[in-house]
């Protein structure tokens, strides 16, 4: 079919007209073959301008539109809407920027005018190659799989569960509550941890909309946002298939294995405990040495494994201060010394806790080198002096690490691991709980070391993401400008599978070609750049379209 092409030049008041000779632009463009209509307007984005554009498109029965105006960031959407209203596909439209990239930056009017003409010609050259793109809709399942029954997993489950959204909560162990259940008191008010966690566990168990699977593990995850198919191996050794629309990973953390760091004497000397062992001792009610007597002098060592792991675990300083409080309340006369590197006590409430703790007679020694010997802590002061301190109990604060099954889960879920081996968020600032895989979210310490309030906030944030995007009964509208891979040109090398950040390409073993899942693809173009046979292209930025435009722009 012969295309009918219209060009509309916006003067943008004086913004373009003052520095671009619109008359000359009109004359030159009108003289080009294949251009049917050339019009100008004082301000095309105004109500009046939009009406003019719509009526002109309809009057002339145009099939392709070029608008020469401002940056696409400013008004591309505006004019695409006008095209739609005029009854033509919005992708049969091209906006070329003769304001920011021309009138505003080129002082010589002659030059700016020539440049504007060049830009319009480039747009005209590509527009016959545009294809109509149409919005798609896919059905979705609103149910959610939550992996991990700790405080974050439970919080997310409770917020997400409702009459029209079922939650499948899969927990590896036989109990809910995760690490919080192993703590005696919670900072900073020293409330009973068990009281708080028990209440949550109760709520989860009582919810009719949460199906709980303990002693269970996720074995396989297929599918994509809105339509995941998950295989779960349950405690009764049964294999279940679940269908969900989104997945929340709240698998928590592990503590660094202290056997890796023999200088702290763990497992070698008596009365050297890990933080969680010391919590246990306090839950049981008594702080006692192995010989059954209360300790007289206790050293609490911060930052155990920080250097080896390469990050600060964020929570240890505060719980080490809490430990000093445990001791001072049970054994007021015991001598307590905290060996620390840098005190990390951010936020409005923590410094007070530190000062209150200090006021209870707790000693603080700054040292970057600490070693545990039998009943003695050897340390180097900041001035490089070697000193010792006699102790009859040592508590170690080991670094927080990704939990043991992180790598396995990352592979299964097709999400990546970032700094420290923790699950990688989609964006470190603006998207902390989503991942590169749409529909898969991370919360709590599986994303990075954090304290209880931060873990809960992340779990609530995941609920926010899911509740606002996966709405029961509402269809999803995936990205339109996705990539596509030509079956005829694909040589089956699978390079695109490696470079795709979004897990949006799969390999069709029967046909031996790569195929794009349009629900997951975000049109980034990684596959296009890496495809050796030119089979991959991004819709609306196809190689042909870009090539035609660039050739004309450089002519």
């Amino acid at each position: 079919m012969e295309e009918k092409i219209g060009v509309y030049v916006c003067e943008c008041g004086p913004n373009i007209a003052d520095n671009v000779d619109i008359d000359r632009v009109m004359k030159t463009i009108s003289s080009l073959p294949d251009v049917d209509v050339v019009e100008r307007h004082k301000l095309l984005c105004s109500e009046n301008g939009k009406k003019f554009l719509k009526e002109s498109i309809q009057k002339h029965g145009l099939t392709r539109i070029v608008v020469a105006a401002c940056s696409p960031k400013q008004h591309e959407v505006t004019f695409m809407k006008v095209c739609e209203e005029a009854g033509i596909n919005p992708y049969f439209f091209q906006l070329t920027n003769i304001r920011e990239q021309c009138a505003w930056i080129i002082t010589d009017k002659e030059l700016a005018t020539e440049r504007a003409i060049r830009y319009i010609r480039a747009a005209l050259r590509r527009i016959p190659f545009h294809k109509a793109l149409v919005k798609k809709e896919i059905e979705t399942n609103p149910d959610v799989l939550v992996i991990g029954g700790g405080i974050a997993g439970m919080e997310a489950s409770l917020l997400l569960a409702s009459g029209d959204r079922k939650i499948h909560l899969v927990e590896k162990t036989d109990v809910l509550g995760g690490k919080v259940k192993e703590l005696d008191k919670l900072l900073p008010r020293m409330e009973s941890s068990l009281d708080i966690i028990s209440q949550r566990i109760q709520e989860v168990k009582q919810s009719e909309d949460i199906k709980l699977y303990t002693n269970s593990e996720v074995e396989e995850v297929l599918g994509f946002l809105g339509n995941f198919v998950v295989k779960v191996k349950t405690g009764e050794n049964k294999e279940l298939e679940l269908r969900v629309g989104a997945i929340v990973v709240a698998t928590g953390f592990s503590m660094l294995n202290l056997k890796q760091l023999p200088r702290y004497g763990y497992g070698q000397y008596d009365n050297v405990y890990t933080a969680l062992e010391f919590e246990r001792m306090n839950i049981d009610g008594k702080i006692l040495r192995k010989d059954g007597k209360p300790p007289k002098s206790i050293g609490i060592i911060h930052c155990v494994g920080r250097e080896e792991r390469g990050y600060c675990s964020g929570v240890c300083c505060m719980y080490c201060l809490k430990f000093a409080n445990y001791i001072k309340s049970k054994l007021p006369d015991a001598n307590v010394t905290e060996f620390y590197q840098d005190l990390s006590i951010p936020g409005k409430a923590r410094q007070k806790f530190y000062e209150d703790t200090k006021a209870k007679g707790v000693n603080f020694i700054r040292s970057n080198e600490v070693e545990v010997m039998d009943k003695v802590i050897k340390y180097k002061t900041e001035e490089g002096e070697e000193k010792t301190s006699s102790v009859d109990m040592v508590i170690l604060a080991p670094a927080i690490e990704p939990s043991g099954d992180t790598a396995k889960l990352a592979e299964m879920l097709r999400i990546s691991q970032g700094d420290g081996g923790f699950f990688q968020e989609e964006h470190p600032k603006l998207a902390p709980v989503s991942t590169s895989m749409e529909g898969i979210f991370i919360a709590g310490c599986s994303q990075g070391p954090k304290n209880i309030p931060e873990s809960i906030v992340q779990a609530q944030a995941v609920a926010g993401r899911i509740l606002s995007s996966l709405i029961p009964g509402k269809k999803l509208e995936p990205e339109i400008k996705t990539s596509e891979i030509s079956e005829a040109l694909c040589i089956g090398c699978q390079t695109c599978l490696e470079v795709c950040t979004y897990g949006a390409i799969y390999f069709d073993e029967m046909k031996r070609v790569s195929v794009v899942n349009e629900v997951l693809c975000r049109g980034c173009g990684n596959c296009v750049g890496s495809c050796p046979s030119g089979a991959a292209s991004v819709k609306h930025s196809t190689t042909t379209q870009l090539h035609q435009e660039v050739v004309e722009a450089l002519r």
Partner: protein, 421 residues
């Protein structure tokens, strides 16, 4: 909830994020912002730690989306006057001040600035440059539409000046606009009003405003900003480039009684700023305890250390006058030292906004001992408040970085949407 509409107060990164998510879910959102622009404090930054991404490039797509989103009604230069009712049925009265420029007609060409006879200090630029009485705070501000500052505009002070109106090709200037009181009915409220920075002048030992080349972190941020008053050139008041710079952490920490969380990382970021523009500059970071928690920040610290910076620990510090210029005097334990420098950058404590107590009263929510809005429970309910249906997010609740502010904004969305309705 009886009423599904939501009021969000504050159009910084947390408020924008909450508004967009709520609108995605199909809720109508009223977003009320005190200033004439969106983006909050983050858009004052040239880059964010620790990936050194351009801050405005990061936020601009969100700001743009906000302006085009159907379900969001943005009220700029607007403040909340009164809140009545309860969860599901709040009645809120807001005062929307006149902008005197038609948001629809204006295209942001800035032709009206030049003829304006007024020149005053630009608050957005921390007073480092001047603006007119009709102005956009910085290039790239959104909405890209100026506002008239009636306090300084000569027309609103008795003179018959209409130079801006004459300069406008689009008849966008409208002196007849009036302030309006508007009643909004909403089911829940998200408070995302951000923070203020402590004025270092309150603590004389830092020499702020006594020495001309002692800057606050935000001043330095604007000095480095490519859209700022020096278009990114780092220079002393005498126009020369600094040869030695001291960056002082924890300014006001002792006085405020808390660690502001973000200053260590922000101060380390300044090393990158300085080395990018002035590779030979000598830099000293004066810190107490380094607060760089989490999986990514220590890596940034280690990387920064290799760029050539002295990290000096102090218990006490002051900026003193020297025969030629100034020096930083510091003490640790019984030792100490003195370092002559050309420029000092202070990292002041984050504090509640000046109007926090007024807003707390209007909202009927409590404040903590420092004046931040108080959460319902610090461990398990940090975005909820003492008043059901009112949520607090971002630095209005507690000093925090962008990631944690965004997480809280999403958390408030999660809490609100889980109520159903």
């Amino acid at each position: 909830m009886d009423n599904r509409n939501i009021l969000v107060i504050g159009a910084g990164v947390a408020g924008i994020n909450a508004s967009l998510s709520l609108a995605d879910s199909g809720r109508k959102v009223y977003l009320v912002e005190q200033t004439s622009y969106t983006g909050g404090t983050v858009i004052k930054f040239e880059k964010v730690f620790s990936n050194l991404e351009c801050a405005t490039c990061m936020v601009a797509p969100k700001q743009q989306e906000l302006l085009t989103k159907e379900n969001i009604e943005l009220f700029t230069i607007t403040e909340v006057l009164k809140v009545e009712g309860s969860l599901g049925n709040f009645v809120v009265k807001v005062k929307k001040r006149a902008r005197y420029v038609d948001l629809k007609a204006c295209i942001g060409c800035s032709a009206c600035f030049e003829p304006c006879p007024v020149s005053v200090k630009n608050e957005f630029e921390e007073g480092l440059s001047e603006r007119k009485a009709i102005y956009i705070p910085c290039p790239g501000a959104l909405p890209n539409v100026p506002a008239i500052d009636t306090e300084n505009c000569v027309r609103f002070n008795g003179k018959d000046c209409k130079l801006c109106e004459e300069a406008c090709m689009f008849e966008a200037i409208d002196f007849e606009q009036k302030d309006e009181e508007i009643e909004l009915k909403v089911g829940a409220i998200v408070v995302a009003t951000g923070f203020s920075s402590l004025d270092p002048k309150e603590i004389p030992k830092y020499g702020y405003r006594k020495f001309s080349d002692v800057y606050s972190a935000l001043e330095f941020e604007r000095m480095f900003a490519s859209n700022g008053p020096t278009t990114g050139e780092i220079k002393l008041r005498n126009g020369e480039s600094p040869k030695s710079v001291a960056i002082v952490h924890c300014v006001g920490r002792e006085e405020k009684g808390y660690c502001s969380t973000i200053c260590c990382m922000n101060s380390l970021k300044f090393v990158h700023y300085l080395k990018e523009k002035l590779p030979d500059v000598k830099i000293s970071e004066f810190c107490s305890d380094l607060c760089i928690p989490g999986k990514s920040y220590e890596k940034f610290y280690e990387q920064t250390k290799t760029m050539g910076v002295d990290i000096i620990r102090f218990d006490d510090i002051a900026v003193k006058e020297e025969e030629k210029g100034m020096s930083v005097k510091y003490k640790i334990d019984d030792k100490g030292g003195s370092l002559p420098v050309d420029m000092v950058i202070l990292s002041p404590a984050l504090e509640p906004r000046k109007d926090a107590s007024k807003l707390a009263k209007i909202l009927g929510i409590s404040q903590d001992e420092h004046g931040f809005f108080a959460e319902k429970h610090s461990e398990i309910a940090s975005v909820e408040t003492s008043r059901e249906g009112i949520f607090i997010v971002g630095c209005a609740q507690d000093p925090k970085d962008i990631q944690d502010s965004v997480a809280q904004s999403e958390a408030a969305v999660g809490k609100i949407l889980s109520l159903g309705g």
